[in-house]
């Protein structure tokens, strides 16, 4: 199966994240890149833009603007040409999906392929039926590669409202976080640099309302940001990056963004109950006597 990997306005973080896929040898036996930003390919970028070369998947990394060119051809024209020959389009990363961090750059009408943050972009509406979005800043390598295999194997992935496979994006980052007990009993991480505590209450952690499986399919096969004590920054979501990322936005002392699906009134009831707990095991440092 042949993949064209084309880059818009990007940092190349998705390219490097992909290289962390642990079974790269097998992957490269099963798929061929007709162009990739780093891995050698049979065609140069100049070849890619000067004719339409047969391929199965068009992969787009980076934000899209009518002003951006690749090898002197407009990126939007490259997308239009190749979208006619491929079976599937995959937007890789939050920039290609929602516009992402570089939406604030100085190019005109910059967005993802189908979404400008939460809003639907009209220009490529006719391509929506063949697109899968794998958001994330960067993309998780296993999520990306597993999606390629699903396409190759003809599996119809169930997608969410932003065209993200539910298999990976129906989870929240909170699922599987090793700090869950501290969340449950409302024990904050008062300071960084601790194994203990939950960062949701004061440190801006967005894990309970961010769709991704970072704590199910670990990063680099070993860890996740929230496990080490870095708040989740919500990098798979349409509004990434929000502002004041290391602080929890609150209204009258209550986090403004509650865990997905939790109503404010129920949250307040639950908060009242958890206050009744005083769990010594969780209130002291884990390794202390």
């Amino acid at each position: 199966m042949k993949i064209l990997w084309i880059t818009g306005l990007a940092c190349n973080g998705n390219t490097h994240s992909f290289l962390n896929y642990p079974y790269l040898e097998q992957f490269l036996d099963d798929f061929e890149f007709i162009y990739h930003p780093i891995i050698d390919s049979n065609y140069s970028l100049v070849d890619i833009v000067s004719k339409t070369i047969s391929c199965d998947i068009l992969l787009i990394e980076g934000s899209i603007s009518p002003e951006i060119t690749k090898a002197d051809k407009k990126l939007v024209d490259i997308i239009t040409d190749y979208s006619k020959v491929v079976h599937k389009i995959v937007t890789v990363g939050t920039c290609a999906t929602f516009g992402g961090i570089f939406k604030e750059s100085e190019y005109e009408n910059i967005s993802g392929l189908h979404f400008d943050e939460k809003n639907l972009v009209q220009s490529f509406l006719n391509l929506r039926y063949k697109t899968i979005s794998i958001s994330g800043c960067p993309v998780h390598p296993e999520t990306l590669v597993n999606t390629f295999y699903a396409i190759k194997n003809g599996i119809e992935l169930k997608l969410d409202e932003y065209l993200r496979p539910k298999e990976y994006f129906a989870y929240t980052v909170h699922n599987g976080c090793t700090r869950n007990e501290y969340f449950e009993y409302k024990i904050d991480n008062h300071n960084f640099g601790k194994k203990e505590g939950c960062m949701f209450y004061n440190h801006g952690c967005q894990a309970p309302f961010t769709h991704a499986s970072c704590n199910k399919i670990l990063w680099n096969e070993v860890n996740s940001k929230t496990r080490v004590g870095q708040p989740c920054m919500g990098c798979t979501e349409p509004d990434f990056p929000k502002a004041n990322l290391y602080e929890t936005k609150k209204n009258m002392g209550i986090p403004a963004n509650l865990p997905l699906g939790v109503a404010k009134r129920t949250y307040l009831t639950l908060a009242g109950v958890t206050k009744a707990f005083h769990i010594n095991r969780l209130e002291k440092d884990m390794f202390d006597d």
Partner: protein, 419 residues
């Protein structure tokens, strides 16, 4: 003629002028910019810790460390534990190492007619990614270094894992790059000693010597390094004279007509940054010997970058032993960032050389941010009368394909150059 240089973390256009069948001038054009410095204006200072790693997919961690240090320099008194300092240095080392493997196996091999060795690049890079992730949560793009230290509270288990990751990466280097016990390389003082071993580096060096390309790519023989830590020293070197008193204030950045990237000079001169520069400033005997013999040529650049891998791994082993787990990972600053109105700056040695971040804060909000990347130093687009480092290195070459080898010997990164 114009040549589009591809697969350099983006693209660049080289506009060649020839005279008497030799390159007379090369105009270097970078084609995209994301205006990151403007994006940062008006934002909460801490948000820069999340935005700045996104400058670059291959050296974003250096941008994180430069950011946190620049913000910390805005405080009059801020305490950072020794443990946090060591941990930051380790994760940055690991990033440099993954970069160098990728550069050698993805970029250098094809320049000499070999197929890329994807797995020889990816395997050790993945191990280094695991090492960073075990401390920082993930790689690329984490924000684990915060003003006051690091968020992670590592344990003995993590230390053991890190020892194994480092050893496994050393093993990979010995198996593929240079077939020798890496302990030996610290003692080496002559290029000939490298030739007594087999390996992919030697294959490339033999090819260069056979084609008599060993002196290709000479520039001004001026080196500079601003990043300072327990391994790298700060200073500059002109021909063989070294100076230690340099200051970030003398770095000047200015626009040029062709490119979206800005030029960078120290005083009024272009300087080379990167592994060769820091090896010269660090007085590494092996690299000094090669430089004495071949000057600031492609041979010196290639060997300096590749040899930095085992040296940094060995140094990381020592650093790991110095971590005192009883020290705090994070010490909360006494003053809230919203009370800080100040200017700060910091430099670190990133994979491609010195990376400088400068910031102005007003009540904890960024009013101005300036990023000067290593590739801006090396790829500055000067004039024929006053050429930049890589332009000078391409003068008088017979054709654009050889020029591409010289250009890529600087480890070009398009996204960093424009940012």
């Amino acid at each position: 003629m114009i040549k589009l240089i591809e697969k350099i973390e983006g693209e660049a256009k080289l506009h060649f002028s020839f005279k008497d069948e030799k390159i007379d001038f090369v105009d270097i054009e970078f084609l995209q910019t994301r205006s990151i410095e403007k994006i940062l204006e008006g934002k909460n200072a801490f948000d820069a810790l999340v935005i700045n790693p996104r400058v670059c997919g291959i050296c974003g961690h250096a941008h994180l460390i430069a950011t946190v240090q620049a913000l910390e320099s805005c405080y009059d008194n801020i305490e950072i534990s020794n443990k946090a300092k060591i941990i930051r240095e380790l994760t940055l080392n690991f990033e440099l190492i993954q970069n160098h493997f990728k550069w050698f196996y993805f970029t250098v091999l094809p320049l000499f007619g070999y197929k890329q060795a994807v797995l020889k690049a990816a395997y050790p890079s993945q191990i280094m990614g695991k090492a960073i992730a075990s401390i920082a949560g993930q790689y690329p793009h984490n924000s684990y270094a915060v003003v006051g230290g690091v968020v992670s509270d590592i344990t003995n288990t993590d230390i053991i894992k890190l020892q194994q990751y480092i050893q496994e990466t050393l093993n990979s280097f010995e198996k593929n790059v240079i077939d020798l016990k890496t302990d030996e390389i610290e003692q080496y003082v002559k290029l000939e000693q490298l030739f007594t071993h087999k390996g992919d580096l030697n294959q490339i060096l033999e090819d260069i010597l056979e084609t008599k390309w060993e002196t290709l790519g000479k520039s001004f023989d001026r080196f500079i390094a601003f990043g300072e830590n327990s391994f790298f020293q700060k200073g500059k070197s002109i021909k063989t004279r070294r100076f230690t008193a340099i200051t970030e204030e003398n770095i000047k950045e200015f626009s040029n007509v062709t490119s979206l990237a800005k030029n960078v000079v120290y005083g009024d001169k272009y300087y080379e940054v990167g592994p060769l520069s820091r090896a010269i400033i660090n007085k590494n005997p092996l690299i000094k010997h090669i430089h004495d013999k071949y000057g600031d040529s492609i041979v010196s650049r290639i060997v300096a970058r590749v040899v930095e891998i085992p040296l940094l791994l060995k140094h990381s082993q020592q650093l790991l032993k110095k971590i005192n787990l009883n020290e705090p990972s994070y010490i909360e600053p006494k003053i809230d960032i919203s009370k800080i109105t100040a200017s700060g700056s910091s430099s670190v040695e990133a994979a491609r050389g010195s990376l400088t971040h400068k910031v102005n804060l007003k009540n904890g909000i960024i009013t101005e941010y300036n990023i000067i990347t290593p590739t801006q130093w090396n790829l500055s687009n000067g004039t024929k009368q006053s050429p930049g480092i890589s332009q000078k290195a391409m003068f008088d070459l017979p054709n654009e394909n050889i020029a591409e080898i010289v250009f890529k010997s600087f480890d070009v990164c398009s996204v960093c150059t424009t940012h």
